[in-house]
Symmetry: C2
């Protein structure tokens, strides 16, 4: 099943942008009258009939809409510091999308080696993974922000389970497993903050805890940043399985 | 903490092969008298003192051995069909090693596009991931075999929880979640069989079920082969967390 993406599904018509149109008309050779499936990126699958096969601006008439198609029963935000190797971050974003994530926030920590991060390429990867894994909701890729800014932005919201995966190598702060923290939580909105290779600074950790983030560990294995992020996504996936 | 690998740890001496010796002596410039840490690949970490800094054949005297170092409380075999794109299989092997796996078996299914598979490169990746994630036990990379051969080899062993992740798109066979199957099982030895992009053939599925494999699903998300394999590893990891 081939999915196309169009955020413009108003008035019963889906308009495909030039890239999607080219793929639909030039690559897959769809013609007027063909049935195609379009996701709006907000969780709805549209079964459509192609009414214009213009290779730069194809249009399809919506025959049926299926809201919440391919969705998951939780809302997960993963705030993850960039990895030194960009491929590893892109891999995490692809896998988290396949498993089920709602927002990816590249956060820059005090100890992050990479201070700049481009989201364009990541958005393409997330869109491709969303279509490939047959989901109608496109995870949001948020513009990069400082770890402290993310913490402050989350502080007010008490309806979200806020977790920080921090090593606390000095063992000064008691941690529970992410599995236990998810089990203890009754709700379905979760945010997990994953640090850089060099971990969070003690100040960032203090700030997070003061803002209501619960320190968790991801088990006994020593995981790379991108593996920790995927493991956090899997922990939520299994909690709601 | 830098780890070196030597399967030859007999008689109180660890002998490093030319590659490990070069890394120890030429790259990291260790000299006689330096303390180094060597894993035997069988689960033991050896704290050693370098007694020969020959760049092609370094040797270290064992000061202390720590058995079961960085281990996990289960024994997991992942039999996974090769992916079209080899990088994806290597990525799975690296991540499964970080999370915790004991044996990786490349299995060739009737519907596998790739019928040949080279293990040399995969062994390098698994060794590097073992060292990087601070484990002393090197997952075994088994030589490729047919899916049917793997099924037959496992059939006799009733002490292992045998799971097959199969789509059964015809829904002819009832499946439970991998989470439930692991919960129902009291033991700690698990084998999971993951099919190719085109899934197992019905004959392979029948054969597996006849051999005592339990059909499981990995949740509602549609996962690529390599993501399914990592998700299976995570399911076991979380069961024992």
């Amino acid at each position: 099943m081939e999915l196309f993406y169009s955020p413009q599904t108003d008035g019963g018509i889906c308009r495909l942008d030039s890239e999607e149109s080219n793929h639909c008309v030039r690559v897959l050779r769809h013609r007027i009258g063909d049935e195609i499936h379009v996701i709006d990126g907000a969780g709805t699958l549209c079964r459509c009939e192609l009414v214009s096969d213009a290779p730069k601006g194809a249009e399809a008439r919506i025959l049926e809409t299926l809201p919440g198609w391919g969705g998951h029963p939780y809302r997960l935000t993963l705030a993850v510091c960039p990895t030194k190797n960009n491929d590893r971050y892109e891999w995490f974003a692809e896998k988290a999308t396949e498993i089920g994530v709602d927002a990816i926030v590249p956060v820059i920590g005090e100890r992050s080696e990479r201070k700049v991060f481009k989201t364009d390429r990541l958005r393409k990867i997330v869109l491709s993974a969303t279509k490939q894994s047959l989901k109608a909701q496109l995870p949001e890729v948020v513009e990069p922000m400082k770890v402290s800014a993310f913490i402050d932005a989350m502080a007010a919201d008490d309806t979200v389970l806020k977790l920080i995966a921090y090593c606390f190598e000095d063992e000064s702060v008691p941690r529970i497993s992410v599995k236990q923290a998810l089990r203890d939580f009754g709700g379905d909105r979760i945010a997990v903050l994953i640090g850089p290779e060099g971990d969070f600074s003690p100040e960032e950790a203090r700030r997070a805890i003061a803002a209501g983030f619960r320190p968790v560990h991801l088990g006994s294995s020593r995981l790379r940043t991108e593996t920790a992020a995927v493991t956090a996504a899997e922990a939520v996936y299994f909690q709601f399985m």
